[in-house]
């Protein structure tokens, strides 16, 4: 990711990008060694930050690799959080680990699919207007309502 960012944004201070790139594995290692979710979150944020820098300083063309990057980020996060869970002899029941791994991979694929759909929607040549604005407001309100509902429904 660091190499891609360096290649895509030659105008940026290379030392800063390399420093951010080096901080990612350090944060990951610290999170895994100390079983600290904060460090893992920081590592994911740093990875996202690199992409943000690359995108912000690059051209205005949509990055078609973004859905795959999103899937990879989720895979990293899932595996990292799996690693810091309390150690239980899970491999005494290998089918459990296999089932979970399959779920994670499917989730990553689904995420990539959703990302691709979002990218297609973002790249469409729809012009603004009242109906589109209305749809956006309804979607945002719906998202907040759904989140409030799922947060409340559990005891």
């Amino acid at each position: 990711m660091t190499a891609t960012a360096l290649r895509a944004s030659p105008g940026v201070d290379r030392a800063s990008l390399i420093a951010v790139g080096a901080a990612v594995p350090l944060a990951l290692l610290a999170g895994l060694a100390l079983r600290w979710s904060g460090a893992l979150t920081a590592a994911i944020v740093l990875m996202g930050a690199q992409q943000a820098v690359r995108l912000a300083l690059g051209n205005d063309v949509l990055d078609e690799w973004a859905p795959l990057t999103a899937g990879a980020l989720l895979l990293c996060a899932e595996l990292a959080f799996w690693s810091i869970e309390p150690r239980i002899p899970a491999w005494s029941q290998p089918h459990l680990a296999l089932r979970r791994l399959t779920t994670v991979l499917l989730l990553c694929l689904l995420s990539a699919g959703v990302g691709a759909a979002m990218l297609v929607a973002a790249g469409s040549s729809l012009s603004g207007g009242v109906p589109l604005e209305l749809a956006g407001i309804l979607a945002a309100t719906g998202a907040v309502a759904v989140l409030a509902y799922v947060a409340r429904r559990s005891p």
Binding site: S37, I44, I88, S92, Q93, L107, G115, A122, L147
Partner: protein, 423 residues
Amino acid sequence: MTRSATPKLGAYAFLAGVGLLAALVLGRAELAVLAAPFALVLFLGLALAETPDVRVALDLDSERQVEGEEVNASLEVRTHLPVSRLELLLSLPDGLESEAPNPVLLALDLDERRELELPLRCAHWGAYLVGRLNARVLGSFGLLAYERSYDQRRALKVYPRGEALDKLLRPLQTLSFSGSQTTGTRGEGIEFADLRPFAPGDRIRRINWRATARRGEPWVNETHPERNTDVVIFLDTFAEARSGEGSTLDLAVQAAGTLAAHYVRAKDRVGLVAFGGVLNWLTVSSGVTQLYRVLDSLLDAEIFLSYAWKDIEILPRRTLPPNALVIALSPLLDERSVRALIDLRARGFDLAVVEISPVPFVEPGPDELDQLAYRLWLLRRDALRASYLRVGVPVVEWRQGDPLQAALEEVRTFRRHARVTRA
């Protein structure tokens, strides 16, 4: 079940929020795409969350076991809803160890019932309550955790491992009830004592035909009757020496259990006095029930720190019947128990002291002064033993790893010679 958010929920919410905010600020849709998977996981995880309905039952295959042996704990786990990740921990008290993985990880399907066997090794004697179970279910995608404790406690008594004894200490005096101790008197019994001329009233079966033929007149066998006796096990619980897993109290309890089992088997009446910070006693009685009473009392034996002066005056009179053989198991570390034993002897009790040696539990310090103090302490212990011997109390040192029979033989030898000296 108590629901709580895992760190992952907070982290994913943060990542989704930061990504969407960055997309808004920088005006790049790709950043929203990067944040979308985390938002998707959050949505799916919370939308699919259901409070699990896990029921756990526990049973032990035995309520009593001997130190070093195993007890099987049977766990039955049931659920009406599918559970993808259930962590089940059986909290074990010190002294019990699980031979199988604990906690265990399970996945249960709809209406599934699973049975688990958890062998528990009884590493140390004691009375335990086993069965506090902690269940933790991770919700979909590990965002929510549901925890619950189940109180399925069952009593488990782990008795100290006994030792085989060939010969027990014979008391100086016996009771009038039949038992296994051969008395010094003459009467109805099995053990041959002497020959005497036939007297009216003697039974024909007692006639010694060989002696009769040799002497020309009827002679009969005389026998020693077998009687039982009262044995009081005097356990010193004022102080102990401990090093790592072992202690003098452990050894004393082990020896007390062994002696009680063998004396009860020999039809003697056995009692127990735990003399220490907390006083505990059992009056003498016989039978298997009494053996279990003694063993159960031994499980409660603990060292309670106390500075209060105590002597045998505080013991109820019936706990120390006259003519009882008192076997004291003591590390001889506390002045109160040392004095109490001498007092018992002064009151005429048939006393034998098995000193549970604290020496193996004590490491001399590295300094010369420490070494000197250690040697002085050993000398003082020798002097203490000599003072017991002077008043006619056999005292033997028993160390961890030595057979108890050897200590008892030493007491028997002393008592034999002591009696000869008195004669």
